[in-house]
Amino acid sequence: MKIETWLFGTGIFFFIPVAVVYGFMTNWSEWVGILGMLLVGGLAGMIGSYLGVTAKRVGMRPEDREDAEIHEGAGEQGHFSPWSWWPLVLGLACATGFLGLAVGWWILFIGAGIALVALVGWVFEYSRGDHAH
């Protein structure tokens, strides 16, 4: 995973020096740009260092080798929901909430109620009923 690490991580070596140069050029008076660029460096560093730590933990993967075969990557990749109605319910809750902001605050509380139902439904979808484990 070295390539992924560097792909994101090298951003640090660009954005942080650029932020310092920008700081000098604006006499350290324009903070939106300085902080913005510094924290873009932080964004790159965050993803880069996470990928670096993960690379240490998982070791060499088939993806890292030129001569790997597709079947070497077979096996459980993670938990993926085949389909679900709950994102739609949550979307409706958000739409209701925004309607509340536009029309009247009282509608927002209805949206919050639907959101609660949607979140509980989504989070526990694979923990109850047929999927209880």
Binding site: S29, E30, W31, V32, L35, G36, L38, L39, V40, G42, L43, M46, I47, Y50, L51, T54, Q77, G78, H79, L119, V120, V123, F124, Y126, S127, R128, A132, H133
Partner: protein, 192 residues
């Protein structure tokens, strides 16, 4: 897979807070006198205690993650046998500490409003409440997430990697919110 997505999303959250920090510093650079006057009303010891509780909650959260990685949802000993606590006990403690922080923030807001610093008073009020307020909303979101993860822990008959993964990504979020608070605390209460 879930954890990569969480980290990428958290890095975008960093940019959200970058906007808030930038707003704070811009307003501060534009009106230094107002800052000197208004920051004098802040209660530093109170905020420090609140900060310590929030930082400590990151450690209890991490203990919960270690328990989740052992695939141990509940405690194996007595209620105060910390070393044998499971994920649920550690996360409940983390929840209480996070709730303490939010309650402290609410108290602090009330104290500041009584000293005539509100969202609409002046630029300082806006900057203070927007930055700490958005952070507070993130903490509340984290508290809700902890309740869901604890719920999953109780719902699972066999606590497995599905439950552990969601516990781990929730801890990423919590640590992130904690680090952002350390930044906010240093900027608002120490640097002033």
């Amino acid at each position: 897979m879930v954890s990569v997505g969480t980290v990428v999303w958290l890095s975008s959250e960093l940019m959200f807070f970058a906007g808030l920090f930038a707003m704070y510093f811009s307003l501060r650079a534009a009106s230094g006198e107002m800052w000197a006057e208004e920051t004098a009303k802040l209660n530093f010891p109170f905020a420090l205690v609140n900060t310590i509780v929030l930082v400590a909650s990151s450690f209890t959260c991490q203990m919960g993650v270690f328990a989740a990685e052992r695939l141990q949802p509940r405690r194996g000993g007595g209620a105060f046998d910390f070393l044998r606590w499971g994920m649920i006990e550690w996360f409940l403690l983390t929840f209480l500490m996070g709730a303490f922080f939010v309650a402290g923030q609410a108290t602090e807001y009330a104290m500041l409003v009584s000293e005539h610093v509100s969202l609409s008073t002046n630029a300082y009020g806006s900057a203070f409440y927007m930055t700490t307020g958005f952070h507070g909303l993130h903490v509340i979101g984290g508290l809700v997430a902890f309740l869901f993860i604890i719920g999953r822990g109780y719902a699972a008959k066999r606590f497995g990697h599905f439950e552990a993964t969601s516990a781990i990504v929730t801890s990423y979020y919590w640590h992130f919110v904690d680090v952002v608070w350390i930044g906010l605390f240093l900027v608002i209460y120490v640097l002033k």
